[in-house]
Structures are given as structure tokens and as C-alpha cells.
Amino acid sequence: MAKGWKDLPIGGMILEAGNSAQYNTGAWRAFRPVRDASRCTNCMFCWVFCPDSSIRVKDEKMVGFDLLHCKGCGICANVCPVKCIEMHDEAEFGGSMEMVDEPGRAGGAK
């Protein structure tokens, strides 16, 4: 439950820096990126170009998408040199806007 008017900082002031991570912009998404991990070369183009820092990387490997913040702009799919990222209609995922950021589930459609 979001805070009521008595508990919020006045004037919409944001008192702590770095809070944009708390704002789940992924809720706006109409298209979800889906990666074919078997073809991914881990070139990191998607990581460089993603405007929302939503490419998850572990041990120098691309491991999935931060779907809590990915707005579905499709830049990653566009810049991918091996075209292993496709944009899918969010509705294909059962109309669910559940936010997941596990690599296995991010590409789990179809």
C-alpha cells in the first residue's frame, strides 16, 4: 500500500537518491524481449544499448532481462548482431504482468 498524504514528503520531493530502481517501469511494457540463449554470443551490444540498464549480466555473460524495469523498447533486439532476441506481444505471456527477472523464465514463452 502506497503511503498516504500525511506520510509523504511535501511537494513530491524525493529525499533519497537512487530510488528509480523502486519504480517498476516494466509495468508499462507492451512487448517483451525473448532471447534464444543457444545463439547468444555474449557480445554485450544489448547491455551497452539498453536505455534502462535492464540487461542482466553475470560472470561476463548475458543471463536475462530485468523485466521489472524493461519497458519493451526493442533496442536490444534491434542491435543484436545475431538476432537472437525477439520481441513478443506481452499478451502471449497469459496477460500476466508478473515481473520476473530470472533468465530461465524471461525466455520461457512458447
Binding site: 498524504w5 509523504l8 513530491g12 520531493m13 529525499l15
Partner: protein
């Protein structure tokens, strides 16, 4: 020690600003701007203040610069008038909604068209819902005194709202009067130092002002603004009381004159209240029981207090120096607000609105006496024949 000087309203306000020594003043210097910032800029050039004086390319930019400086943690003041205020419109809301305690004097003048920069209240009355505190002043002394108080009201932690100090164009702004200018040190001590709780330039704890605020939070922030305005009356009175203790002159939400035993009352703000006082004295000398209520605080509107002061009379005439076009009877804002308050707080008094002085049209004592005679007639019959009359317009 106080000094008594011959100053016009703009000079008196510039003196107050010199003594307050704000961190930042941003202003646009061309008509309808008044001599307030011109005189103040001389103080800046002469090194009498520490103020960063920002000259900008418009009033929209002037208030925008004030907003930025205030968010940065500065004590900020500016001045405008007429079309200048109108051009600030968008930023008036930004200043109030960001809860920035900017103090601005607005010399009340007409809005075009046809082109006119003489006195009426159309400018600030149009801005009455923007979230600023509005304090009307009768003369140069009140303007000087109120600017000093406005700083304290605006910056009070329970309020944190911008304040507009209003006085009549030319009549007060450009006419010389005897004005008491307090000792610099006393004014400095009274306004104190501004210590904002949050500011952009606090490097240890940076904050964000004015972020995106959509369907999920905006409503809560508007509710907070209403609460701040609800706290303002108490603070206005507290500051007035401290001012009276320090400097000797008393202020409140409004001033009454020979109202306690009056049968009819005129409600009129600013310089016309002075003219009305003379009319009251003349009619009283003739045996007519007439009185005056001069509003000072228009935002927040002291509804209950005004009704309590007027409840006993048999007719109330409001004199509006603005028209709320298309409102009930094309009445003025002061009438509409007071009429609603009288009804809500169960004062059954016949009321009429008298629109006057638009575009600087003179209002003379005999015309106000005429208003009182109309009111005495209304008191006799118990009913106003005209909801709105126009005093001084050629038929």
C-alpha cells in the same frame, strides 16, 4: 531607531527587501514591472545587499529562476504586476506546488486588452487558486510591514508556501507617503536566517524537487497543499503578533473600522479602504451607523472570522475591483467568496456587490457614500434590488 522617510510604495518595499537581504532576486525590468526591482537593483549595484540579482528575459523566466534558487535553498524574492503576473501563470503553480517560500510583491494593476496598466485587482484575483498566500495592503507602510512578515509566514515549516504581497498600482505604488523604516538590525533579527530542511545544494543529502507525479501520488501532494493553507491562518496571526511586539503595529486577517455597532458595512481592500474610512466618518457625523471591513488575507480566506465580524449588520456591500466574468451575476471574487461564507456560516444578511475602479478609474468619497446610502436602503427593505452594481461607469 526607526527612521521616517518620504517614500512611495515601491521605494518602501525596496527598503524592506534591502533589510531582508534575500539571497536571490530574479526579475524582468520592463513595463508593467514597477520601480521595486529598479530601486533594489541600485542597492545591489551599491553593494548594500549580498543578493544575487538575476536579470531574465521574461516574467515566466523570472519566476522560474526564483523556483530554482528557492529549491537550491536560497531565500528568494521578486516583484511583478499586471501582465507580468499573468505571464508567470504556469510557474505560480510550480512555486506553490513545490512548496517554495518565495515572497513576491505584486502591484495590482489591470490586464489588457484594451491596454491598461492602471490599478485594479484583476491580475492577482485571477491567480487566486494558484496556491499562493495573498495579503492585501492599504498603503506603503502596510506594504513595507507586510513584506517583512511575509518572509516569516512563507518560511514557517507548517506552511512553506509562496506569499504574494499586494498593493494598489500607482495609488500606493507611485504616491509618496510618510513611511516608518525600522532599524536594519531589528528587521534582520525579525526575519532571521532561512534554514531549509531540504535543498538541492545540500551535498550531504541531495534531494529531487518537482519530479514526475502521476495518478499514483499527485492527489496526495495537492491534499498536502490544502493542509499547508489550512495552517497558514494560525501562522499569519502568530507572525503578526510578534511583529506587533517588535515594531508596534498590529495586523490580522482584516481590519474593522467603526463596525461593532454598525447597521451596514462596506467590505473593501487596499487603498480604497482609506477612502471608505473617510466616507464612514462623514456619514457617522451625520448619524448614519456605517462601518468598514478591510480584508488583508484573501488567501487563505478567513471565512468564519469575517462572518463573525459582519453577522450583526443589516446589509453588507462588497466592493470588488475585479470581475469574475461569467460568475453569478458577473460579480467580483471577493463578493462571491464572502457571500458563500455568509451562507455557510448561517449569517442571513442581504448582500450586494459594487464593482468599481477597473483600469484605474478613480473612486471618490462621494461614490462610497453612495454605496452606503444604497446599503441603508437595502437594510430598510431587507432586500438588495441589484446583485451587482457598477460604481463610476458611464451609462
Amino acid at each position: 531607531m526607526s527612521e521616517f522617510k518620504a517614500l512611495d510604495g515601491t521605494g518602501a518595499v525596496a527598503e524592506a527587501m534591502r533589510q531582508i537581504n534575500p539571497d536571490v532576486v530574479a526579475a524582468y525590468p520592463i513595463t508593467p514591472q514597477t520601480a521595486i526591482v529598479q530601486t533594489f537593483s541600485e542597492f545591489v549595484a551599491d553593494g548594500l545587499v549580498d543578493t544575487e540579482f538575476i536579470t531574465v528575459e521574461s516574467e515566466h523566466s523570472a519566476l522560474s529562476a526564483c523556483v530554482g534558487a528557492s529549491a537550491a535553498g536560497a531565500r528568494v524574492m521578486t516583484a511583478t504586476s499586471s501582465a507580468g503576473l499573468a505571464f508567470m501563470w504556469e510557474i505560480l503553480y510550480v512555486a506553490a506546488s513545490n512548496r517554495l517560500p518565495i515572497v513576491m510583491t505584486n502591484v495590482n494593476r489591470a490586464l489588457s486588452a484594451p491596454i491598461n496598466i492602471h490599478c485594479d485587482h484583476s491580475d492577482s484575483m485571477g491567480a487566486r487558486d494558484a496556491g499562493w498566500i495573498h495579503l492585501f495592503c492599504e498603503n506603503a507602510q502596510e506594504a513595507y510591514d507586510t513584506v517583512i512578515q511575509a518572509v516569516r509566514i512563507a518560511e514557517h515549516p507548517d506552511v512553506l508556501l509562496p506569499v504574494m504581497v499586494l498593493f494598489d498600482g500607482f495609488i500606493t505604488s507611485h504616491a509618496e507617503e510618510r513611511v516608518e523604516i525600522f532599524d536594519d538590525a531589528k528587521v534582520k533579527a525579525f526575519v532571521g536566517e532561512y534554514r531549509p530542511k531540504h535543498s538541492l545544494l545540500n551535498l550531504d543529502h541531495p534531494v529531487t524537487y518537482g519530479p514526475l507525479d502521476f495518478t499514483d501520488y499527485y492527489f496526495e501532494h495537492k491534499r498536502q497543499q490544502a493542509e499547508a493553507m489550512r495552517h497558514a491562518p494560525k501562522v499569519i496571526l502568530e507572525v503578526a503578533e510578534e511583529f506587533a511586539k517588535t515594531f508596534g503595529r498590529k495586523y490580522g486577517f482584516f481590519e474593522t473600522y467603526r463596525l461593532d455597532d454598525a447597521e451596514v458595512a462596506v467590505v473593501v481592500s487596499s487603498s480604497t479602504a482609506g477612502t471608505a474610512r473617510a466616507a464612514v466618518d462623514k456619514l457617522r457625523a451625520q448619524g448614519a451607523k456605517v462601518g468598514l471591513l478591510k480584508p488583508r488575507a484573501f488567501r487563505p480566506f478567513p471565512a468564519q472570522e469575517m462572518v463573525a465580524a459582519l453577522r450583526h449588520v443589516k446589509a453588507v456591500g462588497v466592493m470588488d475591483r475585479a470581475i469574475s466574468f461569467g460568475s453569478m451575476g458577473n460579480a467580483g471574487p471577493l463578493f462571491l467568496e464572502l457571500a458563500a461564507a455568509m451562507k455557510i456560516y448561517d449569517a442571513t444578511v442581504p448582500m450586494a456587490d459594487f464593482v468599481f475602479g477597473l483600469g484605474g478609474r478613480d473612486i471618490v468619497p462621494s461614490q462610497i457614500e453612495g454605496v452606503f446610502h444604497d446599503l441603508l436602503q437595502i437594510a430598510k427593505t431587507g432586500k438588495a434590488t441589484d446583485l451587482v452594481s457598477y460604481v463610476g461607469v458611464r451609462e
